[in-house]
């Protein structure tokens, strides 16, 4: 029986149908123009507001028109001031995210992999998680001073919990049936972790890291509120104290762009690890 003939004879109708249907990956490769529909609403609102201020229907003092925000952003960029703030913020997030994510992965992996560790560790961590993270601020300032260390620590705390929970949960929810396949082939504990647990956990780990990063951005603002001389958070506070709503909105827009870029970068970097999965990117 040669392969060719045998295949066609043995294939059922159901299999033929499965082959004919285009895979979801192929469908997604073409750019979907309908995505642009999402821009319709914000652009329309911006244009309307711009027009309202231009024609004197509104003052635009508390809510400046888009053109003024853009001008402010441009001016900040031109003097180089914007980049100083962006770098300060990014550096804090990067340091806090790295610390929080590493700790979250290590403790999450331990807690997910060992029942004993979980029983020892998890209740305490859950209790700590129940504390609003901002409540740590006074303590961190006392311990670590008002400069960078306390800010990075706060961000790290913010990043830690979603990563810890995500990793531990992912390990706990690994399909036991797949683990059994590893047992059948007599994999050692190390091999089992490498060949089955790790790949099974990766998609959820990426999601955990992404929500950790999101919280990192949230906490950097809180950290910079507690007294900073640079950073996008400082721009916000400064804008409020100086009565410059255009500066506040410019900083908010900078945050939005940075957050989106950082998230996309994380997705891009981890894409090769989860290329076999096509749902992970649509969940968040």
């Amino acid at each position: 029986m040669s392969g060719e003939i045998a295949t066609s004879a043995w294939s059922s109708q159901q299999e033929a149908a499965a082959l004919a249907a285009p895979s979801p990956a192929e469908k997604r490769r073409a750019f979907d123009w309908r995505m642009l529909l999402g821009l319709l609403l914000p652009v329309a609102v911006a244009l309307l507001w711009e027009a309202a201020v231009r024609f004197g229907l509104a003052q635009g003092r508390l809510v400046p028109p888009p053109s003024r925000i853009a001008a402010t952003l441009w001016a900040l960029a031109e003097t180089g001031e914007l980049w100083t703030h962006v770098w300060a913020t990014l550096w804090r997030i990067a340091a806090g995210f790295a610390l929080g994510a590493v700790a979250g992965i290590v403790f999450g992996a331990l807690s997910g992999a060992s029942g004993t560790v979980r029983r020892v560790l998890d209740p305490t961590l859950q209790a700590l998680r129940a504390i609003p993270s901002i409540a740590w601020v006074p303590l961190f300032i006392l311990w670590l001073g008002i400069f960078e260390a306390s800010k990075v620590a706060l961000i790290a705390v913010g990043v830690f919990f979603p990563v810890y929970l995500g990793i531990a949960g992912a390990i706990l929810s690994v399909d036991r049936k797949l683990v059994e396949v590893g047992h059948v082939f007599r994999l050692s504990r190390v091999k089992l972790a490498k060949r089955i647990l790790l790949p099974a956990v990766l998609p959820e780990a990426v999601i955990a890291l992404r929500s950790g990063l999101g919280l990192g951005f949230m906490f950097v603002v809180a950290a910079e509120f507690m007294g900073a001389s640079e950073g996008l958070g400082y721009l916000l506070v400064d804008g409020q104290q100086m009565g410059k709503p255009d500066q506040i909105l410019a900083a908010i827009i900078a945050f939005a762009l940075l957050g989106k870029i950082a998230d996309s970068l994380l997705v891009l970097l981890t894409k090769p690890l989860v290329r076999w999965q096509d749902t992970v990117r649509e969940r968040l």
Binding site: M1, G3, A6, T7, A9, W10, S11, S12, Q13, Q14, E15, A17, A18, L19, S23, K177, L178, E180, V181, H183, V184, F185, R186, K191, R195, I196, P199, A200, L202, W276, Q277, D278
Partner: protein
């Protein structure tokens, strides 16, 4: 030779899944375990595969007592259980880590040809149909050349067309190395198509009710009279195992033979 001696299994919650199972399977024999759900068929296979511990008795393969997963024992589960992050060919190669890359490649290529999926070697499991996935799972178990292959209702989730084609694939692979096969099924046709012997099981506690040799010549003609009568014999035994749990199997068989004679 695979031998089960006084094998029993009681789960932690007190369920007596198996009690005093005695069975010898010759080298290269295909034995089919038949019985309704809850007879302990899956439990029996899991014990042989070393995935669970027996409460009593012994399992021997060529005299060696088995305790735990053994390189000479392969299993195909009811679901394909392919690793979704590995391609089809990587899945088939999963148990071949100890071999050289060239040996691994040639075995995988050969297996892919046998199951007719050569052109899908680099696809992800999710892009295959259920039948194709189960073929990959069977190939993954076969490429390690096990002496004993256990199959737990591997075709039960598939439509009749796909099932028939998978029977062909299974026999095609079996022809090559002739491993001992223990096939769990609840499909009498399937048992008679594939097996040399049907073992009818009974629940509560799980035990062997009857054994029927199926000595039809291979390849088997599913439309022939001999096939029909074998199916009927197994069905009858199954019927009795379900209805009258205390009946003497041997007498039933005689009665059935007499009926056929008449």
């Amino acid at each position: 030779m695979l031998q089960l001696e006084h094998l029993s299994k009681t789960y932690a919650d007190g369920t007596r899944a198996l009690s005093d199972i005695n069975l010898s399977v010759r080298e290269g024999e295909i034995v089919s375990l038949i019985g309704g759900s809850g007879c302990g068929k899956t439990t029996l296979l899991r014990l042989i595969a070393g995935l669970d511990r027996a409460s009593g008795g012994a399992i021997r393969l060529d005299g060696e007592a088995l305790s735990g997963p053994h390189p000479s024992v392969g299993i195909v589960f009811q679901e394909p259980r392919l690793l979704p992050w590995l391609t089809v060919s990587e899945n088939i190669a999963f148990g071949l880590d100890h071999l050289s890359a060239t040996e691994r490649k040639s075995r995988v290529r050969h297996a892919l040809e046998k199951i007719g999926l050569s052109e899908h070697a680099e696809r992800w499991p999710r892009d295959l149909s259920g039948g194709q996935q189960q073929r990959v799972a069977i190939a993954r178990a076969f490429v390690t050349n096990p002496k004993v292959l256990l199959l737990d209702e591997p075709f039960s989730a598939l439509d009749a067309f796909t099932r028939a084609s998978l029977h062909e694939h299974l026999l095609g692979l079996w022809e090559e190395t002739r491993p001992t096969v223990v096939l769990v099924t609840h499909d009498v046709q399937e048992a008679v198509t594939l097996a040399d012997r049907a073992i009818v099981m009974q629940p509560k506690p799980g035990r062997i009710f009857d054994e029927l040799p199926l000595t039809l010549a291979r390849p088997r003609d599913k439309t022939g009279l001999a096939f029909e009568s074998s199916v009927r014999r197994v069905l009858t035994a199954l019927d009795h195992s379900l209805n009258t749990s205390r009946q003497q199997p041997q007498r039933e068989r005689d009665r059935q033979a007499a009926a056929l004679w008449w």
